[in-house]
Point group: C2
Chain length 148, copies 2
């Protein structure tokens, strides 16, 4: 829970993120879940704005990588480097984004590389869920961590 | 100018977009430019938040396609379908996003398809500029228009 509180405060300090009214909901192992109310993200069609879906998935990925490195005792700046987004279905409910590290990613190796080279990249997969369990949007993103 | 006023009112009616404090700056032929103040988009590192860059590029692309169809007298709902984003350099200045239709796209053909089939997709390239003329981020996006 301490990690989620820290993350919440960190998000709230960024004006564009504070406007999103998101709340870190769950951090377990290799997944981070963020929630946000539809009312703050609704577009002209009454469903969630595409930019909000990307922003939430990006923040979930950034938070996941940041918390994992923090747990490993590594001080690093984390940047998003590139993202591929697919918008699959309109979302008429509150937003729930989950980010996971890609299956082929091994944290011990990544942390060793970061300690040795001062930087490394982390592949992340994120999704925004539909109420029925499907996906409103999916993203594959790459985050770069640079040791401070 | 009427098109920009219409677009501005349309953006302002969406809560997540109103929070971005953007202003449509220029619409000429195949390009739409949107501006937004850094203060509303700053992250924990003092530069523009990645999610804001994608949102602004997505809105520029959506606005461009919507205005062009409107000029052609077509009532259509416009959705973003997929986006590939590259974040190239941190931006420590106000945001300026420009969207253009991809060079290979021909509006007359697209409008004919939309009239015949009721839907079509439009490839858009967007960028957020650096003050020195380089790019902070680039995106390739595909928008789908569905005739009402």
């Amino acid at each position: 829970m301490e990690s989620l509180h820290w993350l919440d405060a960190h998000y709230a300090a960024m004006p564009p993120v504070a406007a999103m009214r998101l709340s870190p909901a769950r951090f377990a192992g290799d997944a981070l879940e963020l929630n946000a109310p539809l009312a703050s993200h609704v577009n002209d069609k009454g469903c969630a704005f595409g930019g909000s879906l990307v922003s939430l998935m990006t923040l979930a990925g950034w938070g996941l990588v940041t918390l994992r490195l923090r747990e490993a005792g590594i001080e690093a700046d984390v940047f998003v480097a590139d993202t591929q987004v697919r918008y699959l279905a309109p979302l008429y409910a509150d937003l729930q984004a989950t980010a996971r590290v890609a299956e082929h990613h091994a944290w011990p190796d990544a942390i060793a590389r970061l300690r040795a080279a001062g930087r490394d990249s982390v592949p992340v997969q994120a999704r925004v869920a539909l109420p029925d369990g499907g996906d409103a949007a999916r993203a594959d993103a790459r985050f770069v961590a640079v040791a401070r």
